[in-house]
Symmetry: C2
Subunit: 210 residues, 2 copies
DNA sequence: CGAGTAACTTACTGGGAGTAAGTTCCGGCG
DNA sequence: CGCCGGAACTTACTCCCAGTAAGTTACTCG
């Protein structure tokens, strides 16, 4: 009933579901990235989109559901980036290095992705544990595959041992990534990847042959 | 007003502050260990102790404060156990192994300690980040000290590199510990420690000399 | 015994997750 | 055109839990 305001957007009327979902997801990714899971309320996100809270519940079910949707997207991108780098390498030693570089670089280039994925996501308790575990397992699998590639075909594989190795490496990369985000002038992705590769490579190679 | 019940404890009357604090801390450690930080309410703990919530607030200030008090105790025990094992070893390679064994064994023997310390604590967001970071840094320092011990005295220490190594190792042990608690029949502490030591030792030794 | 204080409680506020029950808009069909 | 069915969306709650204000009870020391 007012005069038309010049600064007002053409009042965002109804959109179809898919478009709204994308809008909500984009806002959620941004705000979760800025303030973390705990620090973000559903009302915050609703306000940012210019929509009411129950609509988000209708589309995403719960706060966890929304968070998980963010997670899934980021996880897919990250996993793809890293495995592309690994696959492109010509030998296992280089694959290891290339994978590390890709990992740290991706996280540098998507800082908000990081806090969503790990800084909060990976640690979550409750219904999210399952999904974040899945994310992690994808990487553990990738690493385990690399390790197996390096085994002489004859050798009987000790699966327990390979799992230990894969989790060690996954844990080291996660921790380093978190540390880099919290440190003023972190070493470059290349430096970290190189040091990590140097730390692991000999042991990995020896274990493969023993 | 009732007849004296035979099974009833002599109705826990007032205790002095120190005793109550200990009672509360014990209950908190147990319940946080069972249900996690999020899953535990202050009323739960108050009920378990048989006391009202504001009393806990008076003694510990906040839920975080109480959690942090649990953390501090456990951290001290764990750190002491591990560093004793490290100090008792005769050379660096054995110190590494002994430290890992002590770490995994402690966590086996104090399963609830684990979920309090790491599974929730290490990942916490907000005001707890600082304290948990401190806990972790204690271990990073310990590891860094070991690495430095292994350097030939002449060599100029590359502190950035040592930090990378220390965080890698700390991350690997953390992840392995979490993984072990979530896995049905985890390998023994000795097996894990041995594999981890084998994975790291050569690289560590080479990096020290290069 | 009475006064002072430490130990403790009742009864609240506030905020955020989640929900019940509508209301408004749009497209299609007579 | 009118009107009806469903999808998009909202108002106005409930409940749970962290945290608090203000008071009450019981022990201690003079």
């Amino acid at each position: 009933m007012q005069v038309t305001s010049t600064t007002e957007q053409p009042p965002k009327r109804r959109r179809d579901r898919a478009a709204r979902e994308r809008e909500i997801l984009a806002a959620a990714e941004r705000i979760f990235g800025e303030r973390g899971y705990q620090g973000t309320s559903m009302d915050d996100i609703a306000a940012a989109v210019g929509v009411s809270k129950p609509l988000i519940y209708q589309y995403y079910g719960s706060k966890d559901g929304l968070f998980l949707a963010c997670l899934a997207r980021l996880r897919a991108q990250l996993l793809e980036t890293v495995s592309d780098a690994v696959m492109a390498a010509t030998d296992v030693e280089n694959a290891l290095y290339a994978g590390f570089v890709a990992w740290f670089q991706f996280l540098d280039e998507h800082p908000q992705a990081w806090s969503v994925l790990i800084d909060e996501g990976m640690l979550a308790t409750g219904p999210m544990a399952a999904t974040t575990e899945e994310v992690r397992n994808a990487f553990v699998e990738l690493i385990a595959a690399m390790v197996r590639l390096n085994l002489p075909p004859s050798r009987p594989t000790d699966d327990a041992e390979i799992e230990i190795l894969a989790h060690s490496i996954s844990g080291a990369t996660e921790r380093l990534a978190i540390w880099r985000t919290r440190t003023p002038n972190p070493p470059t992705p290349q430096k970290v990847a190189r040091t990590l590769k140097d730390l692991l490579w000999q042991g990995l190679d020896t274990l493969s042959k023993s």
